[in-house]
């Protein structure tokens, strides 16, 4: 009795859309950043699951790890994104001490 691929993909899709709803609904900039991280991580799960399936089906090299390699690059992008995102939040916070994105509606200094 094993878990089918579809269950992993469904968990990934649910987490992705939870993150998307959070990005659209929440107004706290830090929470929006967290929700973006959830979305990126959900995509990682789908990538690893499909990569595992492609390796099993024997399409080419059974040790094919291209999905996992892509996940490593997603990790890099996520780390860079959260660092720059928090820096932007802090820079905006210095101009106007709030993290509510509805109140940061102009970019003049």
């Amino acid at each position: 009795m094993t878990v089918p691929l579809g269950a992993f993909i469904a968990v990934s899709a649910v987490l992705f859309f939870l993150g998307a709803a959070g990005v659209l609904i929440r107004r706290n900039a830090v929470v929006i950043l967290m929700c973006v991280e959830l979305m990126l991580n959900a995509s990682n799960l789908a990538l690893v699951a499909f990569s595992r399936r492609a390796g099993q089906l024997g399409a080419g090299n059974p040790l094919d790890q291209r999905g996992s390699v892509f996940v490593v690059f997603v990790f890099v992008i996520a780390a860079a994104e959260v660092a720059v995102g928090l820096a932007i939040i802090l820079a905006a916070y210095r101009n106007r001490p709030t993290v509510n994105v509805d109140e940061i509606h102009e970019m003049k200094g």
Partner: protein, 166 residues
């Protein structure tokens, strides 16, 4: 005889992922949200283990559960989190956002269940050696570009938060 273990752990991890994810989206206590986000990431690492991607699970724990959660917590501590009650569920964009997300999410989640292939862990000594072989031969150039991207992000973050010397 231990056939039930894999579905059992799958249920535990997916409950952790989705339950903590719902809490991250819905709660209003920002520190609890950050820690629940860490729980989501840790459960995701368990999911990677179930899929037989041990190296990715290790990276997940190191980068997401460790670094990114700490970074987010620093962001929480550096900014004043006003606890005044702007209504979470009665903003003007909430019904549109929820409807839009549901309209896309429900078909996608149902489509996801159409993948019926069983996932069996390979059990051939882990994924570190094939992953490293792929990463440092075929993808060596993107790997170097990624290091440049990280350097640019590091410099950019420092420049953005640096105070102007008067």
């Amino acid at each position: 005889m231990f056939d039930f273990l894999e579905p059992f752990f799958f249920a535990v991890f997916s409950l952790g992922i989705i339950g903590a994810g719902v809490c991250v989206v819905m709660l209003r206590r920002i520190t609890a949200q950050a820690l629940l986000m860490a729980l989501t990431f840790a459960s995701m690492a368990g999911m990677f283990l179930l899929l037989g991607a041990e190296t990715i699970a290790l990276f997940q724990v190191l980068i997401y559960v460790g670094a990114i959660t700490i970074l987010i917590l620093f962001g929480v501590m550096f900014t004043k989190q006003d606890d005044r009650g702007y209504a979470l569920f009665f903003q003007k964009q909430t019904p549109w956002a929820a409807a839009f997300t549901l309209v896309i999410a429900v078909p996608v989640v149902f489509l996801a269940f159409s993948f019926k292939d069983a996932i069996t862990p390979s059990g051939k000594g882990g994924d570190l050696i094939p992953l490293a072989g792929s990463l440092f031969t075929d993808y060596a150039f993107p790997f170097e570009i990624a290091s440049v991207l990280l350097l640019a992000a590091l410099v950019g973050a420092i420049v953005l938060v640096k105070r102007d010397e008067q």
